[in-house]
Symmetry: C2
Subunit: 414 residues, 2 copies
């Protein structure tokens, strides 16, 4: 057995304990939250090593900021764990049921997944956030974080495992892969004897590697090439506000706007208004020929690649389209299936867009930035699924469960 | 583009038509049913070629029977298509919804998967059954059948595609892979640009190949190493009937019983009664040492492999266990997560078993043979999922859909 297989086997055992742990899970989560606060100094000391290493290896200021912990941030992590504990138990809900003619009583109930693998990148707070959600959902979790946060993640995982043990839980309910090489990520993607599902949280590169290598069921998350289409009937003021919010309120996240499509009949009026707003944040515009005709030479010529890519930056691709059909065709071609929006005052255009756009979240007259578990009222979020199997869009605790049928009889045979 | 990629691109286009086809899908299904009956002779002629080839290549009598079509069987296929048409539309159901404080109206609605791939083996009737279910669920389907049924499948697919075209639908709503080499199956498993989900229907070999090779989301189906545990408090007469039914009513299917576990306190009384019943069908018993002590030398010594394998035959593995805990531990070790049963008259044992056994269907005092979409009242079945993601147990039309969020606002920004 490899180290990872041993970890998988231990996690599988722990998952059997969790399966029937019921509300005791909340006690364990409370213990974890308290332990995070109590061991704040140890965690900060480990974080300091990561920060020093990060500075030496030339991490950008924004990456260093994502990596940095403080007493306040650790208290925030503990609060997050307590909030998860306070949510309703997603396990044991009866989803469906009936009594068959032969007297069999059949019910479909939610059950834990078993063992969940999570691959994530720079932020150390994901260690406690993700572990808390998996525990609450009755599953053991194997975490594999990025090398930048290695010492922080190790310290946080140790605190959680110690707290679990003190609370009478197997410490292997939470495990952290100590090897942060690419090899260990690939091995985790292929741990099919032990892993019931893998959730990669990261950029396009990680998702691509998972699609190529995974031999366990996967929930893809996060890549968002999000579009907004400004219909000819749009309220230009509203369109301007939604574009500005979608593009500039937080350009680095997956629900940020990447491409603006504008109907030709409104482009001459709308584009200058939108551009003036985007100029406030120095957003670079990469446009089609018609966009350039309207906005002038300040617009960079958009390439095919510009329509395909997730900029995650103060850059927006713009295209003038002839019709709603053309806008839909463009989105069908380039979308990653995350979030798209139409701004319109036309009832039929709104219906057409919501019916034909096949993305996790389809908006009429609202910012794509709302695609988020917290905003949607799911209580907490483990990620945003861009696939169609099992979960689509923001995933909360319910999406971390599976189901089984329980059938009660008194001797029925077929 | 390879031939399969071209097929995938056409199927994706067709799926966009189907996405908004609504109740027109039922008209197309009616046309397909009528066309199957009208073109019965052509289909039978193609089937005759497969049967002749099968005889030449030495297919077993039971495989030849599965392959054989008749006017009656083709009418049965047409009836199956009509029954699917009569089911409620699984697309457009509102699963959840709320109005947020900021006024956003959010709803989660079911939508088609898009393009579904199905790999199946000998039975040509799967061609129309599976296609009808996928169409009703609003998805295009790419079918890849076994080489034994090649001519039959081609004829059935042609009839369906012609009927679709006459009904005003794209004929590429249904496609059949003409290449029946192993290579084409592998290529289909990796068609990630076009396939939204792959459902392999077949034995352990196919499932293993899919786990190894697939780069698209998969719903695993069908491998069932099903267990029955006869508790010390069991009604022996009931246990006897359920074991006999589970093992002998149809040994070749995935919900058939493979292993019998018996509590030591009841083994001496129960095993001879059960054996006498199984003898009526000459079931071979492979038992542990204690089983042999009770039943004598007619029992073959069970190997580790006997507890692991799906016999799909008149063979049963038997083991005497010390406790409910031991029975559960055995099942956790060897089960494929399909269907397991406890026979008991003890309330706590029943609860313990249903809570701790992590399989798609967990029975108290009833035969595992009930694990079936029709028996469960799902209306129709595309297969039985043995994985935890998306669908578990018998899958009907609802399990062939995905969902999306539609969010309606009036200018909200975040």
């Amino acid at each position: 057995m490899t180290t990872l297989e041993q970890m998988g086997a231990k996690a599988k055992d722990a998952s059997r304990f969790l399966m029937t742990a019921g509300s005791k899970k909340d006690i364990a989560l409370g213990a974890i939250a308290a332990a995070l606060c109590e061991n704040c100094e140890e965690i900060l000391a480990a974080n300091k090593i990561d920060l020093e290493n990060g500075e030496k290896s030339g991490l950008t200021a924004s990456l260093l900021d994502r990596l940095r912990l403080s007493e306040e941030r650790i208290n925030g992590m503990a609060d997050g764990v307590r909030q998860v504990a306070a949510l309703p138990d997603p396990v044991g809900r009866v989803l469906d049921g009936r009594t068959l003619k032969n007297g069999l009583q059949i019910e479909k109930v939610t059950v834990p997944m078993g063992v969940i693998g999570i691959i994530f990148e720079a932020r150390p707070n994901v260690t406690s956030d993700a572990a808390a959600l998996c525990l609450k959902a009755g599953s053991a979790v194997i975490l594999r974080g990025g090398k930048e946060a290695f010492h922080s993640n190790m310290a946080i995982a140790k605190v959680m495992r110690d707290a679990l043990e003190k609370a009478g839980f197997p410490r292997d309910c939470v495990a952290l892969v100590e090897d942060t090489t690419r090899q260990s990520a690939t091995e985790l993607m292929q741990l099919s004897d032990y892993l019931d599902v893998l959730i990669p949280r990261g950029g396009a590169g990680l998702i691509k590697s998972v699609v190529e290598n995974a031999k366990v069921p996967v929930i893809e998350t996060g890549v968002g090439n999000c579009h907004i289409y400004v219909d000819k009937s749009a309220d230009i003021e509203m369109a301007k506000n939604i574009v500005f919010n979608g593009k500039t309120s937080r350009p680095s996240v997956c629900n940020a706007l990447e491409t603006l499509l504008v109907h030709k009949d409104i482009a001459e009026k709308a584009l200058p208004v939108i551009k003036a707003e985007l100029d406030k944040k120095n957003v670079e515009i990469r446009g089609c020929d018609r966009t350039k005709q309207i906005l002038g030479d300040c617009v960079v010529s958009a390439t095919e690649e510009d329509y395909r890519v997730e900029f995650l930056d103060y850059i927006i691709a713009v295209k003038v389209v002839d019709s709603l059909d053309d806008a839909i065709a463009h989105i069908q071609k380039y979308s990653t299936g995350h979030s798209e929006c139409i701004v319109t005052s036309d009832y039929n255009s709104a219906n057409e867009f919501t019916a034909r756009i096949d993305s996790a979240a389809v908006y009429v007259n609202a910012s794509t930035r709302f695609t988020d578990g917290g905003e949607f009222g799911l209580g907490a979020e483990i990620g945003i699924s861009t696939q169609k199997l099992h979960a689509r869009g923001p995933m909360g605790l319910n999406e971390l469960t599976s189901s089984k049928y329980i059938i009660r009889g008194n001797g029925q045979i077929r």
